[in-house]
């Protein structure tokens, strides 16, 4: 990994050097700052609504706001040339990408799809970068590099890789993997680690290629590397982002970014160290991502050079770093951050850039951006953010467009400027090679010049960025397992899908469902060349009939779903794609959008909230929820106040809490908007149909009236606040059990419960007919991820009994590791519970899980199953009653040894039960333990039936130690080790090779516990000196101990998880 990475990087560096002289761009760049200024000035005047709304609409891109003044001709040119400027949607630069259709499915499918998903990209030079990214990504995954070729040409033609975009692309891998790994918080760090290396290599390779191409306009090494470094730097934050269900990570990213900008030096180091760690795959260090940033922040004034050196080493793990590279990195990182922030915050960026060689910038920029701008930017924020998720979605069309007309213009301008800055920075660096001191200067400048408000802005901007990152990361996720030749198509498809999803999907799990399956399917189905040619042609045919980009995007989304479906149900190859009817053309979104345009801004925002709220409702990191009403306290909103940014990063939990609070507040505020509802376009409905049953119905639920209603109820719940909470158990239970019936009815019942709760005494619990409310699942998916329910179960996501049987069989036969099986079993259990299925299947599921948990040493999980089984057996449901009675006894004996529990467990045994072999054994073990009879214990250990040995393992160590203590005290003068080995269960007295081994083991064990083992002179026998050992025995610290006490949560387990 390291090698490859290094190679690519050096190649990229070389390319950069060669490219620099040839770039005609440089002079231009110098002139740039002034232009920026102009831009800025223009921005400050609230921009008039763009005339070419429709066009913007087409773009559907969250960069719809680009349409604003920034597009003035000269700037436009500039943008194109620079390639770093945000593209102007209206006037595509000369390098404007080809219409996706042509190339889409054949060669450049990958980029094509990307386009569709982020249609805004079209006009953007950057988007190419994104594509490259993708391809690079695939490659990084170990796929052949062929797939690069299709995307590359395009990239070259358009080339103007934008750092920002690359970053987004980057954030990805992390997200993807993280997602894949699931929700257990512990798994995240690990996933991050995984993704890191991949990303690094990927991005590099990509860069190299781009460089090599002479056509690439101006890309300087800096830019590219910047992209890489940017990726890495941003990465941690995005990864964090997903860590704990969104909120916490959210906060991390929010604060980490700003700080970084503040002090480049320190951030550099911190980020890179963070990066380095994952590369080295040292889990623990990375396990606490938040802590790393924390330290980084703690010393904001860290010497820049050291910071960078760290960075460099971090990046080039184990490989020689050349000075240039490191320098570039410095620049890059700075740029990177600059890009980040710049995209939403004008002033800070300006100041950053102004440092160093660009003297004009600071002076000019600062005056030109009065504090007022901040407010404006803030105002612009909310509208900007939402679009990303919805880019492709017709439903979303309105929003971006309306945004375009909104204050967001401000931000557009900012971005433009910003990019210019960065590029200029780059060039500057190349020329002067002053990287070393430049950062320091910048740092100072930043600290001095940047007002505190900056932090606010950062926070605002950050979420949006994150969101984008997510999206791109999703794209990558889907790609990961795919083959290069397929990647263009599948990747593209999935990319579209994934990028769309955020708009619809309220629950991350739901997204996960498909992803998981995608992975699986990808493993199994999407092997090289596995796409039937007929499918390609089919896709092309469909795309041909599209009239505009929006339609195309929609079509692609739908088709992607289709392909995924097909892949999942195995009909990918069996299906006759040639005879498949072409998709009905989705309604032209632009028409609707035009109407929508007339809507009040307030309306739009409401819509946004509605959509965004979905994100917020569950774990999805909700970045977009800035509401106008909440502008008053922007600081608290994202949980990072100025103060926080500047200094106190230690108390992350506090921040998290604050963030949560903030979100909640917004949530309530936005509830009204939800009811206002969004218009659902026919397209999305169509797509939903497609989705149905494929993605556990989960992806599709977004915009159905049902869902809306449910959401309404949910939000009402929040509205009611404490009344409801105080209210009734009935309500809570209702949420769990109901759900099978039409949600209207469900809503009614909930309402009823609510009312009764409100009115008096919660008597409703008895009155509700739970039977009629019990969910009957309709999900046909055998595999399902587990997520603890936070609301009433959705029948679409619940599997009926027969499917659960299949699922159980699948789990029993799968060869995947315990964590996977455990999760599957948990989801089965959940489905059983919500459907109130209590029969032999239930018993089997719990028994299976209990056994697997025992084998894996997962005692908490085992205990859960055991207690459930106890109840199930008590109901008279048949199962391996005695077996589990014996486990139960042993568990009590070994785990807590409470004599009361033991007594009641023994009293529960029936007369017949006591005759069972396993139970007898357990009782014998119990009495051996009670007396301390180690001989009997280890004999029983050897003959333990079923899985009892796993339980007895818990006690073996303790028993051995007690036994040796006992022997050391009572035996004189010596005890033969062979006898001890036999007594303590090291050898089985068979006299075979195992005995020898056991003997050595025993000797090691004895020595390890402080006993004196020696060879007796007379008999030449290995003996333990009892008297000496009596005082020297000790129990060594367990080697596998973990600080948090539960070895099952150790990172290493998660490394093995995938």
């Amino acid at each position: 990994m390291g090698n490859e990475y290094d190679k690519r990087r050096s190649a990229a560096a070389a390319a950069a050097h060669s490219a620099v002289p040839s770039s005609y761009q440089r002079p231009y760049l110098y002139g740039q700052p002034q232009q920026q200024q102009q831009q800025l000035a223009e921005q400050q005047v609230p921009p008039p609504p763009p005339s070419n709304m429709a066009a913007a609409q087409h773009q559907q891109h969250w960069y719809g706001y680009h349409q604003h003044p920034a597009q003035q001709t000269q700037e436009g040119g500039q943008v194109n040339q620079l390639g770093t400027m945000p593209p102007l949607p209206i006037m595509p630069p000369p390098q404007t990408p080809l219409p996706p259709t042509t190339s889409s499915w054949s060669g450049g499918g990958a980029h094509e799809t990307t386009d569709s998903s982020y249609s805004g990209y079209y006009s953007h030079p950057h988007h190419q970068q994104g594509q490259d990214y993708e391809s690079g990504y695939f490659r990084g995954d170990g796929q052949p590099a062929n797939n690069m070729t299709p995307s590359l040409p395009l990239a070259q033609s358009n080339t103007a890789p934008t750092n920002g975009f690359q970053n987004y692309g980057h954030g990805y891998g992390g997200y993807a993997l993280g997602d894949h790994h699931g929700y257990e918080s512990a798994s995240y760090p690990m996933s991050n680690d995984h993704s890191y290396p991949q990303q690094g290599s990927e991005s590099y390779s990509q860069n190299t290629t781009t460089y090599a191409d002479p056509n690439a306009p101006y890309p300087t090494a800096d830019i590219y590397q910047n992209a890489n470094s940017g990726d890495t730097t941003t990465y941690p934050s995005s990864a964090n982002y997903y860590n704990s269900g969104g909120y916490q990570s959210y906060q991390t990213s929010a604060y980490s970014m700003p700080t970084n900008t503040w002090n480049d030096g320190s951030y550099g180091s911190h980020n890179y160290t963070g990066y380095a760690v994952p590369n080295a795959t040292t889990g623990p260090a990375y396990a606490a991502p938040s802590s790393i940033p924390g330290t980084g922040f703690a010393a904001p004034n860290v010497n820049t050079s050291t910071g960078y050196s760290n960075a460099a080493t971090g990046l080039d793990v184990g490989t020689g770093t050349n000075a240039e590279a490191s320098l570039q990195y410095q620049q890059d990182t700075q740029q990177q951050w600059a890009d980040y922030y710049a995209s939403f915050q004008t002033t800070p960026q300006g100041s950053t850039d102004s440092s160093g060689t660009l003297q004009a910038a600071p002076d000019l920029l600062n005056p030109s951006v009065p504090p007022l701008t901040y407010a404006k930017v803030v105002a612009a924020e909310p509208p900007q953010q939402p679009p990303p998720p919805g880019t492709v979605q017709p439903t979303w069309l309105q929003t971006p467009v309306s945004f375009a007309a909104l204050p967001s213009f401000q931000a557009c301008g900012t971005i433009g400027i910003h990019w210019n800055d960065t590029s200029s920075q780059n060039t500057r660096h190349e020329e002067y090679n002053q990287a070393t001191f430049a950062p320091v200067q910048q740092q100072e400048q930043q600290q001095t010049t940047q007002p505190q408000q900056q932090s606010v802005v950062f926070q605002k901007g950050q979420p949006a960025l994150n969101l984008k990152q997510q999206q791109q990361s999703r794209i990558n996720t889907v790609h990961i397992p795919t083959n290069p030749s397929i990647v263009p198509k599948v990747g593209g498809l999935s990319a579209t899908k994934e990028s769309q999803k955020p708009a619809y999907v309220s629950v991350p799990v739901k997204q996960l469902g498909p992803k998981l399956s995608t992975d699986v399917v990808a493993d199994a189905v999407l092997q090289p060349g596995s796409f039937p040619p007929s499918l390609r042609t089919y896709v092309e045919r469909v795309l041909m009939q599209c009239k505009d980009e929006a339609q195309k995007a929609a079509c692609q989304a739908i088709m992607k779903e289709m392909v995924m479906t097909a892949a999942e149900d195995g009909s990918l190859f069996s299906k006759d794609w040639d005879s498949e009817p072409l998709l009905p053309l989705p309604g032209t979104p632009s028409a609707t959008t035009k109407k929508e345009l007339s809507q009040q801004q307030a309306n739009t925002t409401k819509t946004e909230y509605n959509l965004n709220k979905r994100l917020k409702t569950r774990w999805e990191p909700v970045t977009v929820h800035e509401s106008h009403g909440n502008q008053g306290r922007p600081n608290s909103f994202y949980g990072v106040s100025k103060d926080d940014v500047q200094g106190n990063f230690k108390d992350t939990s506090l921040q998290t809490r604050r963030i949560r609070k903030g979100l909640k507040r917004v949530h309530r505020g936005s509830v009204q908007g939800v009811i206002g509802g969004t218009s659902t376009s026919s397209e999305s409905e169509e797509e939903e149909e497609q989705n149905e049953g494929v993605y556990l119905g989960s992806l599709s639920v977004a915009e159905t009236p049902e869902e809306r209603k449910r959401r309404e109820n949910r939000s009402r719940r929040f509205d009611r606040g404490k009344d409801v909470n105080r209210g009734s158990k009935g309500f809570g239970r209702g949420r769990i059990t109901n759900g099978s019936i039409a949600s209207t009815r469900r809503g009614a019942v909930l309402q009823m419960a609510l009312n009764s709760a409100d009115s008096q005494n919660g008597r409703a619990v008895e009155d509700i007919d739970w039977d009629s409310l019990t969910v009957r699942g309709t999900c046909q998916e055998v595999e399902k991820r587990y997520l603890r329910l936070t609301s009433a179960p959705d029948p679409h996501m619940v599997r009926p009994e027969e499917i659960l049987r299949k699922a159980l069989a699948m789990v029993q036969t799968t060869t995947k590791n315990y964590l996977y099986r455990c999760e599957q079993l948990k989801s089965i259990r959940q489905d059983l519970t919500v459907q109130r299925i209590r029969n032999e299947l239930t018993v089997q599921v719990y028994e299976t899980h209990a056994r697997m948990a025992l084998e894996a040493g997962d005692l908490p999980e085992y205990n859960q199953c055991q207690s459930q089984l106890q109840g199930l057996y008590a109901e008279g449901i048949k199962g391996c009653c005695s077996e589990f009675a014996s486990y139960g006894l042993l568990y009590i004996v070994f785990q807590h040894g409470n004599s009361r529990d033991l007594l009641s467990a023994m009293a529960r045994l029936t007369r017949e039960g006591k005759k069972d072999k396993a139970v007898k054994h357990a009782l014998a073990v119990r009495s051996a333990v009670a007396v301390g009879n180690y001989t009997a214990f280890f004999r029983l250990y050897r003959t333990a039936p079923n899985l009892s040995p796993y339980l007895m393992d818990l006690h073996v160590e303790k028993m051995r130690f007690e036994a040796v203590k006992c022997m050391a005290r009572s035996y004189r003068p010596t005890v033969p080790v062979s006898f001890m080995a036999r007594t303590l269960g090291f050898t089985d007295m068979s006299g075979g090779d195992g005995d020898l081994q056991g003997l050595e083991e025993c000797e090691d064990w004895l020595r390890g516990h402080g006993s004196h083992v020696q060879i007796e002179s007379g008999t030449n026998e290995l003996v333990m000196d009892a008297k000496m050992s009596a005082t020297s025995l000790f129990m060594p610290e367990p080697e596998d101990a973990v600080p948090h006490g539960d070895a099952n949560l150790a990172l290493n387990d998660f490394f093995g998880r995938s």
Binding site: L903, A907, S927, A930, V931, T935, S970, R972, T983
Partner: protein, 412 residues
């Protein structure tokens, strides 16, 4: 006729209520307690039957208002009596809980503890009615929760009493009722907090509590110590309970002895047969005999025979551990026999002789296991000496080879 009954009922109710009013106004706690007693109280039937024939509810309400501020409480209480009389225990419990709540409210306001007796009566009734109600609920196939509710209410009462002042005397009674609830519910861990507040408060000497409550308290805490395998403490507490117990209450003494005997056995004190006989504790007879004779087989047999009983009372695990003592006794017997034969070498007990003895008892143990037992005996100070693995001999200490068990250091 009906009219007459009605007036009769009203008159009787009026009579009852005026008595309550009198008791309260004269601060006669004992009388009030008698008036309020539900289970086993003489007024329960009286009130219930009066309510049966009374049609004029408003008149009752009017009458009850005389008791203000306990009017509501009396209404609920009468309702409880009525329900209890008709064996609607769940309803009775619900009414009683409300009544008790109201009473407690008032009780808190009273400076002196004159109504302690009445409060205790209510607490007792609450517990007993809750048990009955739970029984009723279980018969209907639902989850019983009334006793639990009673427990938490008693906790509240305890809170009202446990502070300083004259009311503290009554706290121990409530504690004992709580113990009963918790033991019945199997949630003995909840006892800990109550015990702590009783035992740590130095403002009130334990001896000032009524003897009745002290004995009950010691009995329960002693049982708790048995569960914790803390035999020495258990011994102290149970002995205290036994010595303060009313000698006339044989059943109470028996209850104490049921736990004290196993505790004493494990501390090496054996009861006389007459004691077992007198208090009908013959289930321990064989155990004691086994201990006397060193007969492992007999012990095992006894445990098996009375397994259910011992498991239920919770002494099974205690008795089971007596096996080591039985072994010790066996060793001692062998030692004594050897001493009679050859005093010089008596302190060396060969494994062979032990094995022989065990085989004679039909105990299936091989040499390894016996060796293990011997090692444990030495390790736990049942025997003084050491074991020689090479020659398979237990070498006993020349003096005090079998130390007094109660004096032996407590190594598990």
């Amino acid at each position: 006729m009906a009219y007459g009954n009605n007036t009769d009922g009203s008159r009787r109710l009026g009579d009852y209520i005026s008595r309550v009013v009198d008791a309260i106004s004269s601060q006669d706690g004992v009388a009030l307690a008698e008036l309020l007693a539900v289970s086993g109280g003489s007024y329960c039937d009286f009130v219930a039957s009066a309510l049966d024939i009374t049609k004029d509810a408003s008149r009752v309400v009017r009458q009850v208002e005389k008791v203000a501020p306990l009017g509501d409480m009396m209404l609920q209480h009468m309702r409880c009596m009525h329900c209890f009389f008709h064996r609607h225990y769940v309803d009775a419990f619900n009414a009683l809980e409300k009544s008790a709540n109201a009473f407690l409210q008032e009780f808190r306001n009273w400076e002196s503890a004159w109504a302690m007796q009445a409060l205790h009566t209510i607490v007792y009734d609450l517990r007993t009615v809750a048990e009955l109600a739970d029984k009723e609920i279980t018969e209907n196939g639902k989850m019983p929760d009334k006793l639990k509710g009673a427990g938490s209410f008693l906790m509240k009462v305890f809170g009202a009493l446990a502070g300083k002042g004259p009311k503290r005397v009554g706290a121990l009674y409530v504690t004992c009722q709580l113990f009963k609830v918790y033991f019945k519910l199997g949630t003995v861990h909840l006892c800990r907090s109550v015990i702590r507040s009783i035992e740590t408060a130095r403002v009130f000497d334990f001896e000032e509590f009524p003897t009745r409550d002290r004995v009950t308290y010691m009995y329960y805490t002693g049982r708790l110590e048995v569960f914790n395998d803390n035999f020495v403490l258990a011994d102290q507490k149970l002995v205290y309970a036994l010595s303060h117990c009313n000698p006339a209450k044989a059943s109470n003494i028996r209850m104490v002895l049921k736990y004290l005997i196993p505790v004493k056995l494990s501390l090496g004190t054996l009861p006389k047969y007459s004691l077992l006989q007198r208090y009908n504790l013959l289930e321990y007879k064989e155990v004691v005999q086994a201990l006397r004779m060193g007969d492992i087989r007999l012990l095992r047999h006894a445990l098996q025979t009375h397994e259910d009983q011992f498991l239920r009372s919770g002494v099974y695990l205690v008795l089971e551990k007596l096996e080591l003592q039985v072994c010790r006794r066996l060793m001692k017997k062998i030692y004594i026999l050897q001493k009679q034969k050859d005093p010089g070498r008596a302190h060396q007990v060969k494994m062979d002789s032990v094995l022989k003895a065990l085989r004679w008892l039909n105990i299936d143990m091989d040499i390894d296991e016996v060796e293990c037992i011997m090692a444990i005996l030495i390790h736990r100070n049942f025997i003084k000496g050491y074991f020689s693995h090479k020659s398979k001999v237990v070498v006993l200490s020349k003096q005090d080879a079998f130390p007094v068990l109660s004096a032996r250091p407590l190594t598990s």
